[in-house]
């Protein structure tokens, strides 16, 4: 196993349909990866396998920081180390913003209320939401909700952060504020795996860009290589479709 996150022969079926056709991928600690590609290419499925929100074939293997992503005790450890941000935020609507951030550290990490409160306040400050801490999620804009979701994931002090199209459900004017938080985060050394349609973000922030299509990794490389000089015809077609309009 070479990577901090190591994926070997990852296969996933939905009935007869093969969503992932044997993915191999190694991700180094601290690396920022952007996964791009057309809808239905398996990008989201891939990152949802990393914390096993999606099950996968027994012959496939994913290891995060030396811990196999298998059902049972080790899965709890993996999930405590891997944070996730969803397209639709998925904040807990019955809890205030601060309580959303405090819940997992107090229940999973065993932090006292004071410690969890301090951590939540610090993180909400960091994502620029400290003034909304006592509000309920429904009273926040989409961009604010997504920043809270990032703070909530960070409260577990994860080694890896997964982002599943974090700006796709946002009004255009709110995309920037979320991407700014993610850019700051990329500078802190946390490993990030980002599924995104924001090519500008991928170009600017990613250490490596992965292009997926039809359940396979088609091409991978530095952002400059992928965006300026793609080798594969499918990558070329996709990029010319998303960049030239």
């Amino acid at each position: 196993m070479d990577g901090f996150v190591s994926i070997r022969n990852l296969k996933k079926f939905y009935g007869e349909f093969c969503a992932l056709k044997g993915i191999n991928l190694d991700i180094a600690e601290g690396e920022v990866i952007c996964i791009v590609g057309p809808s239905g290419s398996g990008k989201s499925t891939l990152i949802r396998c990393i914390n096993r929100l999606e099950g996968f074939e027994d012959t496939s293997e994913i290891v995060v920081d030396g811990i196999p992503v298998m059902p049972g005790k080790s899965l709890a450890k993996v999930r405590a180390e891997v944070g996730m941000v969803f397209q639709s935020f998925n904040l807990f609507p019955h809890l205030t913003v601060r309580r959303n951030v405090m819940l997992a550290p107090s229940r999973v990490r065993g932090l006292s209320t004071t410690e969890a409160t301090d951590r939540a306040n610090f993180l909400l400050e960091r994502v620029g939401i400290s003034e909304q801490a006592d509000k309920y999620p429904e009273h926040l804009s989409g961009g604010q909700q997504q920043r809270v979701a990032i703070a909530r994931a960070l409260a577990m002090e994860p080694r890896v952060m997964l982002f599943d199209e974090p700006t796709s459900a946002l009004d255009p004017e709110m995309v920037g504020e979320v991407l700014d938080v993610m850019k700051d985060l990329a500078g802190t050394g946390v490993t990030m795996i980002v599924v995104t349609h924001e090519m500008g973000f991928a170009r600017q922030v990613a250490d490596r860009v992965i292009f997926m299509d039809g359940g396979e990794v088609i091409e991978t490389g530095k952002p400059d290589e992928i965006f300026s000089n793609p080798q594969e015809p499918r990558t070329q077609n996709f990029l010319s479709a998303v960049l030239n309009h």
């Binding site: 914390n51 929100l53 709890a76 999930r79 405590a80 891997v82 944070g83 996730m84 969803f86 639709s88 998925n90 904040l91 807990f92 609507p93 019955h94 819940l103 997992a104 229940r107 999973v108 909530r152 994931a153 577990m156 997964l162």
Partner: protein, 223 residues
């Protein structure tokens, strides 16, 4: 005047009302205990039905369907008159409480299940992704939201439990209805029965109105 003397006879009511109060107290005690036990049983059944191993799920499902098909009065009579034949005999209070709980638990289970299933998948996924275990996920995230949705139907079901306590008079439990029929026999006047009816309505009307209010508010919220 004859109608008032027959149905609202003040003298009879004054004479019998201590008896009625005793009956009312038993009715309330039976209702509250059965509702609480039914809620607990219903929640456990709903969780088993949704998340247990498949064969156990099937058992919960059979239980729920059987006890929703069985008339409460039949169950009550079996518990009170048939179980003593196998050495299980309970007072009329506990017989009634058991029968009410077994049946209301089945209905409550279906209500809880509907509530849990109405919670978006993203709430479960976010909980799991944060590393919350099953117990914390349910207690801290899913159930608080699910219960809030199903408070109106749970209240409805609780109203039914209180109404059904009247069936316990069949197994000689001195509840409100039983005391009323006895008072009626003693006084040779039906006024106590009318009073009993009025008391049931007085207790339950506020709850019925509260459910309507909650349903109206939820309906308005959706729009």
């Amino acid at each position: 005047m004859e109608i008032i003397d027959t149905f609202f006879n003040v003298e009879v009511l004054l004479r019998t009302y201590p008896l009625m109060l005793k009956g009312l107290w038993i009715t309330i005690k039976l209702g509250v205990v059965s509702i609480i036990a039914g809620l607990a049983l219903g929640l456990v059944l709903a969780l088993i039905r949704l998340y247990a191993a498949p064969p156990v799920q099937l058992l919960a499902r059979i239980y729920i369907d059987v006890f929703r098909s069985l008339p409460l009065l039949v169950l009550l009579i079996i518990v009170y008159y048939a179980l003593p034949f196998v050495g299980i005999s309970m007072s009329s209070f506990w017989s009634a409480m058991l029968a009410l709980t077994l049946v209301s638990g089945a209905y409550m289970a279906e209500i809880f299940r509907a509530g849990i299933q109405a919670i978006p998948k993203g709430q479960f996924e976010a909980s799991q992704a944060l590393g919350l275990g099953y117990r914390h996920m349910m207690v801290d995230v899913i159930l608080p939201q699910a219960v809030k949705i199903v408070i109106p139907p749970l209240t409805n079901n609780s109203i039914n439990v209180v109404k059904d306590t009247a069936l316990a008079s069949v197994v000689a439990m001195p509840d409100l209805l039983k005391q009323a029929t006895q008072a009626q026999a003693l006084a040779a006047n039906p006024s106590p029965l009318i009073l009993a009816a009025a008391i049931y309505v007085a207790i339950l009307w506020p709850l019925v109105a509260a459910v309507s209010r909650m349903e109206r508010r939820l309906g308005a919220g959706e729009r």
